[in-house]
Symmetry: C2
């Protein structure tokens, strides 16, 4: 499902659909001294302008630049709702994305004055006040994820054709709906975004969710990246009660997950996983 498909005219912002080629071929010399062709991942600067003011330059694979720009504004709490956005225009000729708000004249310079440079594998800045915000977050208690639903998700992700398999050097994130009716379990991947920075991939999914007005309360967020503080904060901000990663976690990621009541599962691959927090939502 692409953002452009779901948001019809008059319902959502006007959008470009300016995806880049994900991989490039270069020549390398291997350990035997032989020349070989290798696929590598793209990386492009994308400068975000909001109402013609320059805000930030993101380095991205460029698979979902419109959603990335929107998700960045959402996750940084710079724009409150998708209804405030009139247009998102990506122009790779000048490596820029121009976001226009309906009110116009947005100026975030005061809100971006205090910076937190985080452990993100990729875009990694949290603007001031983000840490305070998590105090207010409470995730829905009634959502459920079963062990079989988790396995279905890991299987769906594993079978996917990805830029990572072709070129490495990128992280993938997914938003999924996992079901288990007692006799059969399934996982539907609603979005899958890869980017050179894992935080870009998260932000792009947040942007897709905004555009398609998808609620996170009954969904599962999957990432190939590590569960650091910022990853946990973003998942909680998006209202998703389940966070699953192939990788490990940090102590601050663990602490914040407990604080906000997130069900967090790490080192999840094939049939293995470790459930770290929020076990009440998990059906073993």
């Amino acid at each position: 499902m692409s953002a452009a498909d779901a948001a019809g005219p008059g319902l959502g912002p006007a959008l470009t659909s300016a995806r880049r080629d994900p991989t490039f071929e270069v020549e390398a010399i291997d350990e035997h001294g032989d020349r070989t062709r290798v696929s590598i991942a793209g990386e492009h600067p994308l400068t975000l302008y909001v109402d013609k003011r320059e805000l930030v330059t993101l380095m991205t694979l460029g698979q979902a630049p419109e959603a990335l720009a929107l998700g960045f504004l959402r996750n940084q709490r710079l724009v409150e709702g998708i209804d405030q956005i009139a247009a998102v225009h990506v122009d790779w000729e000048v490596d820029a994305v121009a976001v226009t708000t309906r009110a116009g004249g947005a100026d975030y310079s005061a809100r971006t004055a205090t910076r937190t440079v985080t452990t993100g594998c990729g875009q990694g800045s949290v603007f001031g006040g983000l840490m305070e915000e998590i105090e207010a977050i409470r995730l829905p208690q009634d959502a459920r994820l079963s062990r079989r639903g988790l396995h279905a998700l890991l299987d769906a992700v594993r079978r996917r054709e990805t830029v990572y398999k072709q070129a490495g050097a990128v992280h993938g994130c997914a938003l999924a709906r996992c079901r288990d009716d007692g006799s059969e379990a399934s996982a539907e991947v609603l979005y899958y975004v890869e980017d050179v920075g894992r935080h870009n991939a998260v932000d792009a999914i947040a942007g897709h969710m905004w555009l398609d007005r998808v609620d996170g309360a009954d969904k599962v967020f999957y990432t190939t990246g590590r569960l650091t503080s910022e990853m946990v904060i973003k998942c909680a901000q998006m209202g998703v009660p389940f966070l699953v990663s192939r990788s490990g976690l940090t102590e601050m990621g663990y602490r914040i997950a407990r604080q906000v009541g997130l069900t967090m599962i790490g080192r999840a691959a094939n049939s293995r996983f470790l459930l770290f927090t929020g076990e009440a939502r998990f059906d073993r």
Copy 2:
């Protein structure tokens, strides 16, 4: 070699030596439903003040906070030389590092106005103008690295006791001197820093090099992380002509490496590697 050892009184800045415990133990439930104890990596906010002005908050493992603060200022080109630094004081009671300049009254607000949020696995911000700077960089042409010297380095890194082996979720960086006299090759790892963000690990090594007045021209930089644009830029800025990674690379990392004349080797582990750029310095 620690920074505190090498920089005696009167020669370098006054330094604390405030390392944090690298790992924490938490309880998790595994795929069999069994409770198990798991080591996870620390992650701590560290707010950097320069002459009492707040500059940035870094999320760090806390293994070399003084060197990290200095390397951040160095790699962001906010301070020109280590001689300008009078003191670096880390206080984990308040999660802060206070840097005092000899001149006093440093104010970087103008220079930090334009932000680049990069693909760093970890701290990932490049302040304005960084991209322009690479135009001026030319790395020494006479440095050599042999295939056997590279293998000695990979072997030394592999045998190291690391936080990664114990807890995962961190990246490691090393600065090394590789030698090959024709009959025997060796690699001396001068610094090895791990951090939750790979860019923190790079910056900490830049800080150590400053403190110990170590020149990069005959050294090899090793990272477990991906070779994105910012990683290549930082290596070039530190004047190190060889960049070796266990991971892959991006197209922009590749392009910048060619532009600055860096010898860049990716996917290097055990006896395998791919030489991507700067083959003239490499003895096969």
